[in-house]
C-alpha cells in the first residue's frame, strides 16, 4: 500500500507533464469552446456576425485541440494503466465526447464551403453544441476522476454511466461550461471591434458572477471532500482572486488583462484538481487497494526517461511556433456589419470570380 503511494521523481514529473498538457488544452481550447458558445448568444445578429465570431479562432483552434490529442498519447506512453482504465471505464461518456469533437471539426472546416443560409445555420447549431457539450463532458469526466469511481481488482471501472452523473461531477461540468464561456467571451472582446466588442464586454460582466459562485462552490467542495493535500488551497485562492479581478477589468475595457485573469483562473483550477489528485491518478471508491496511482500505473523508468528526452526536444519547438502563429494573427477581426477599409476590394474580387465562373 505504501509503495503504491510513493512515486519516484520521474513518475511525479510525468504526472506534472500530463497535468501541464491538460492545463494547456483547457486554457487554449477553453476559449475556443467559449467563442463557439457565443454563436448562441449572438445568434440573432445573423450569419455574417456569427461568421466573424468564428473567424476570431479560425486560424488557431486546430492547434489548440492537439494539446489533448498529444496529452492523451503521452498518457498512453507514460501511464498506460491510467489510459486503459480511464478510457475503457468512461466508455459511453467518452463516446459522446468523441462524436461531438468529430462533428465540431467538420463545422469549422466546412461551414463556409457552401454559400447557403440553411447550410451555415445548420453548422452554427453544430458549433453551439460543439462549444457547450465538450465543456460539460470534460467537466463531468474530471469531476469523476478526482472524486474517484468504483474499480475492481482487474482495474476495470464498474461505475455505470448513470453513476458518473453524480452531483459533484455535474457541478464540475457546469463550472467548466461557465469558466470557458467567460474565457471565450474575454477572447472575443479582445479580437473584435465595434458593437460586438462592447457587447462581449457587457456579456462578460454578467457571466462572471455565476462563474465565481459556482467555481468557488466546486473548488471548496473538492478541497474539503476529495483533495489529498491542503496545499491546493493556494491555487484555489489564486483562481478566486483572478475571477474577482476580472470584474473591474472588463468594466474598464482592459480586455487583455481580463483574458489573462480567466487564463490564470483556469490554470489555477487545473493545478488544484491535479494537485489534489496526486499521488493517485484514479482513486477507487470501493476499495482503496484497487486505486491507480502515479506509482503503480506508470511505464518503466526507462520509457519515462526516453519520452522525457523526446519531450524536451519537441515541446520548445511547439511552444515557439504556436506563439509565432498567434503573433501572425494578432490583429482584430472586423465585423461584417461595420466593414473595415479594403472590404470593398474583397467584394469586387468575389464578384469578379462569380462572373468569370458563370462564363466558364
Amino acid at each position: 500500500m505504501d509503495a503504491m503511494l510513493d512515486p519516484t521523481v520521474l513518475q511525479t514529473l510525468w504526472f506534472a507533464l500530463i497535468a501541464f498538457f491538460f492545463l494547456g488544452y483547457f486554457v487554449l481550447e477553453g476559449f475556443d469552446f467559449g467563442v463557439q458558445m457565443n454563436v448562441a448568444t449572438f445568434w440573432r445578429r445573423g450569419i455574417g456576425t456569427r461568421g466573424t465570431i468564428l473567424k476570431t479562432i479560425g486560424p488557431v483552434w486546430d492547434g489548440n485541440e492537439v494539446w489533448v490529442i498529444t496529452g492523451g498519447a503521452l498518457m498512453f506512453a507514460a501511464f498506460p494503466e491510467w489510459y486503459a482504465t480511464l478510457f475503457s471505464g468512461f466508455y459511453l461518456a467518452l463516446l459522446l465526447l468523441l462524436l461531438v469533437l468529430i462533428v465540431r471539426v467538420c463545422a469549422f472546416k466546412w461551414r463556409d464551403k457552401v454559400d447557403s443560409d440553411r447550410w451555415k445555420n445548420s453548422w452554427d447549431v453544430v458549433h453551439i453544441i460543439g462549444g457547450f457539450a465538450p465543456a460539460l463532458l470534460w467537466g463531468v469526466a474530471f469531476g469523476n476522476i478526482v472524486a474517484g469511481v468504483a474499480i475492481d481488482e482487474n482495474r476495470w471501472v464498474t461505475t455505470s454511466l448513470l453513476g458518473l452523473l453524480n452531483p459533484f461531477a455535474l457541478l464540475a461540468g457546469v463550472v467548466f461550461v461557465l469558466l470557458f464561456w467567460l474565457h471565450g467571451t474575454h477572447y472575443l472582446a479582445l479580437k473584435v471591434e465595434g458593437r460586438l466588442r462592447e457587447d462581449a464586454n457587457r456579456l462578460a460582466g454578467i457571466l462572471v458572477w455565476p462563474t465565481i459562485v459556482a467555481g468557488a462552490a466546486f473548488l471548496l467542495w473538492f478541497q474539503l471532500a476529495h483533495s489529498n493535500t491542503w496545499f491546493t488551497l493556494i491555487p484555489v485562492a489564486v483562481a478566486a482572486l483572478a475571477l474577482i479581478a476580472a470584474v473591474p477589468l472588463h468594466r474598464r475595457r482592459r480586455e487583455g488583462l481580463a483574458f489573462g485573469a480567466t487564463t490564470t483562473a483556469i490554470a489555477a483550477a487545473a493545478i488544484t484538481l491535479f494537485g489534489g489528485l496526486f499521488p493517485y491518478v484514479m482513486p477507487a471508491t470501493n476499495d482503496p487497494a484497487n486505486s491507480l496511482t502515479v506509482a503503480n500505473a506508470s511505464s518503466t523508468e526507462h520509457t519515462l526517461t526516453v519520452m522525457l528526452v523526446a519531450l524536451c526536444l519537441f515541446l520548445p519547438l511547439v511552444i515557439g511556433y504556436t506563439i509565432w502563429a498567434y503573433r501572425v494573427f494578432r490583429h482584430r477581426v472586423s465585423d461584417e456589419d461595420s466593414p473595415a477599409p479594403g472590404a470593398e476590394l474583397l467584394e469586387k474580387a468575389k464578384k469578379g470570380y462569380r462572373e468569370a465562373f458563370e462564363q466558364g
Binding site: G63, L74, F87, S88, V105, M307, F314, F329, A356
Partner: protein
C-alpha cells in the same frame, strides 16, 4: 455477436474510414506544396498565375479533406483505450511512445501550420507562406511514419522484452529501445509503401479532376471556334492551365508506381520471414508447395476458403510467381496454411485464456477468403492508374505550340472513374495486412516470440450492447459525414479555376482570387 467481434468491426470500420481521407491528405498536401513552389519561383507571369490558381483550386479541396481526416483521427487515438484496454496495458510502455511522438513532432506542426497557410495568404511574405504548406506536407508524411512504426511493432515486435512479473512488454535498452522500434525493418518497408500509396491516390486525383476540366474547355473552344477570341481563351485554359496539372498528376503517379513496386517487393520478402502465415494466406495456400504459383482468379465462397481449401478452384495460375514474390527464387518452398497452423499449435498451444479466464480453442489461420481477395484487389486496382497514366500521356503528347489536349468524352469519364480506385487499393492493402495478422494483435517475432498477444486477449471487458452502441453511433455519424464530404469535394472539383479576364482599356490581366479561408 460478442463484444470481441463488435469491437473488431468497430476498429475496422473507423480505421478504414479514416484511411479514405488520410492518403489524399498526405499526397495532396505534397502536390499542392510543389504547385505552390512552382508558382512562387516562376519567372513567367502567366505560368506563375496559372500555378497560383491551381494551388488554390486544389488547396480548397485539401482543406475539406483535411477536416474530416483530423476529425476521424481523434477517434483512432482514444479507441485503443476504449475497446482495447487490455491490449493498451500490455503494450502501452512501447506503443504509446510512437503515438506520442506523432503528436509532438508531427500533428502539432500540421495543425498550427495548416491554420497559418489557410489564413496567411497576403499576411506574410510569399516565401514564408510557401514554407507553411511545406511544413504541413512534411508533417503529414511524418505522421504516417510514426503511425506505421507503431503498427509495425504489432506486426514484428522489436526493441522490447517481456517483463515476466507484470506480463507486459517493456522498452529495453539492451534491445535498442525506442530507436529499434523506429528503425524496425518492418517500418522501413511499410512506410515507403504507405506513402507512395498516398502519392498514387493524390496523383490520380489531380489528373482526374484536371482532365475533366481540360476536356470541358477543349470542347467549349471547339464549339466557339478556335479563331474567336472567346474560343481562343477556352483553348488556352485547356492547354496552358489544366494540361500542365494533368501531366503533373501523371508524373506523381509514375513516381508512386515505381516506389510502390519496389517497397511492396521488399515487404513481401520480409513478410515471408516474419509472418509466413500471412504470405501463405495471401495465396490461400493450404498445402506446402515448392515453386508455388500465383493464381489470378479462383472460385469458391467464404465457406470454401474456411475449410481445407478443397472446394477452391484456381482458374488462372501463373507458375512460380508466389515463390518469387516471397524469396526472389522460383523454386522456394512455401509452407501451407495448414502446416503452419499445426506448427503454431505446437509452439504456442492448442488453447489460450481470454480476458475472462476462459480457455478457448485456437485456430491460427486468418480468414483466407479476405486475405486472398484483398491482396488481389490491392494490386489489381492499380491497373486503372496505369491505364489512366498511359492514356493521359498519349492524348496530351506534344510540346509548346503543338501540345495537345483532347475532347474525348470517353477519356474524360475514365479519368473520373479512375479517381477512387487507388483509395480502394489502399483500403484493401490495410485490410490484407491487418486481417492477415489474425488471430494475433501483436504477432510474435520469430527470433524472440515472447512478446505476443492474441486479439481476444486485448479487448476491453464490455458488454456487447455497449460496443454495439458505439459501433452504430460511429457508423451513422460517419455515414452522414461521408455524404457531406463527397458533396463538397464534388462541388469544389466541378467549380474549376476561374479564368482570367483582360481589361479592355489597359490590356492588363485581371485574375480573380478564390476566397479561401473560413
Amino acid at each position: 455477436m460478442e463484444a470481441l467481434d463488435l469491437a473488431r468491426w468497430q476498429f475496422g470500420i473507423t480505421t478504414v474510414y479514416h484511411f479514405i481521407f488520410v492518403p489524399l491528405t498526405i499526397g495532396l498536401s505534397l502536390l499542392v506544396a510543389i504547385m505552390q513552389t512552382r508558382a512562387v519561383f516562376s519567372k513567367d507571369p502567366a505560368r506563375k498565375d496559372a500555378w497560383t490558381r491551381m494551388t488554390k483550386f486544389f488547396g480548397s479541396m485539401l482543406i475539406v479533406n483535411f477536416g474530416i481526416g483530423i476529425a476521424t483521427g481523434i477517434v483512432q487515438e482514444f479507441q485503443f483505450g476504449m475497446n482495447w484496454s487490455e491490449y493498451s496495458r500490455f503494450i502501452g510502455d512501447v506503443f504509446g511512445a510512437p503515438l506520442a511522438l506523432e503528436g509532438l513532432a508531427a500533428f502539432f506542426v500540421e495543425s498550427v501550420f495548416l491554420g497559418l497557410w489557410i489564413f496567411g495568404w497576403g499576411k506574410m511574405p510569399e516565401k514564408i507562406h510557401l514554407l507553411t504548406i511545406w511544413a504541413v506536407a512534411l508533417a503529414t508524411t511524418g505522421s504516417a511514419y510514426f503511425i506505421v512504426a507503431a503498427n509495425s511493432f504489432m506486426q514484428h515486435p522489436v526493441g522490447a522484452t517481456l517483463n515476466p512479473e507484470t506480463g507486459r512488454a517493456e522498452l529495453d535498452p539492451s534491445q535498442g529501445s525506442l530507436l529499434a522500434v523506429l528503425t524496425n525493418v518492418t517500418t522501413l518497408a511499410a512506410f515507403p509503401h504507405v506513402v507512395s500509396g498516398a502519392w498514387l491516390v493524390a496523383g490520380a486525383f489531380l489528373t482526374g479532376v484536371a482532365a475533366w476540366h481540360m476536356v470541358r474547355h477543349h470542347n467549349r473552344a471547339r464549339e466557339l471556334g478556335f479563331e474567336t477570341e472567346e474560343g481562343q481563351e477556352q483553348h488556352l485554359a485547356a492547354r496552358d492551365l489544366y494540361r500542365p496539372t494533368v501531366r503533373f498528376g501523371v508524373v506523381a503517379m509514375c513516381v508512386a508506381a515505381v516506389a510502390l513496386v519496389i517497397s511492396g517487393d521488399f515487404q513481401a520478402q520480409i513478410m515471408f520471414k516474419q509472418q509466413p502465415m500471412k504470405m501463405a494466406s495471401a495465396e490461400a495456400l493450404c498445402e506446402t508447395e515448392t515453386g508455388a504459383s500465383f493464381s489470378i482468379l479462383s472460385v469458391g465462397g467464404p465457406e470454401a476458403f474456411a475449410q481445407d481449401c478443397e472446394d477452391v478452384t484456381h482458374l488462372i495460375e501463373v507458375l512460380y510467381v508466389t515463390s518469387f514474390l516471397a524469396t526472389h527464387t522460383f523454386d522456394a518452398t512455401l509452407q501451407g496454411v495448414d502446416d503452419l497452423n499445426a506448427q503454431y499449435k505446437d509452439q504456442f498451444g492448442e488453447t489460450a485464456t481470454d480476458i475472462h479466464g476462459n480457455e478457448v480453442e485456437l485456430d491460427y489461420r486468418p480468414n483466407l477468403f479476405v486475405t486472398y481477395w484483398s491482396f488481389r484487389l490491392m494490386m489489381g486496382l492499380a491497373a486503372f492508374s496505369g491505364i489512366l497514366a498511359l492514356w493521359t500521356l498519349w492524348v496530351t503528347r506534344g510540346k509548346g505550340e503543338n501540345a495537345r489536349t483532347t475532347g474525348s468524352k470517353r477519356f474524360q469519364w475514365f479519368a473520373v472513374l479512375a479517381i477512387p480506385m487507388p483509395f480502394f487499393a489502399n483500403a484493401a492493402g490495410w485490410v490484407f495486412t491487418e486481417i492477415g495478422r489474425q488471430p494475433w494483435v501483436v504477432h510474435p517475432n520469430p527470433d524472440d516470440p515472447t512478446i505476443r498477444l492474441m486479439t481476444m486477449q486485448g479487448v476491453s471487458s464490455h458488454p456487447g450492447w455497449m460496443v454495439l452502441t458505439s459501433l452504430v453511433a460511429f457508423t451513422l455519424v460517419y455515414g452522414v459525414l461521408a455524404v457531406l464530404w463527397f458533396g463538397m469535394m464534388r462541388r469544389a472539383a466541378l467549380k474549376g479555376v476561374p479564368l482570367a479576364t483582360r481589361d479592355p482599356e489597359t490590356d492588363e490581366l485581371d485574375t480573380p482570387t478564390l476566397s479561401f479561408d473560413y
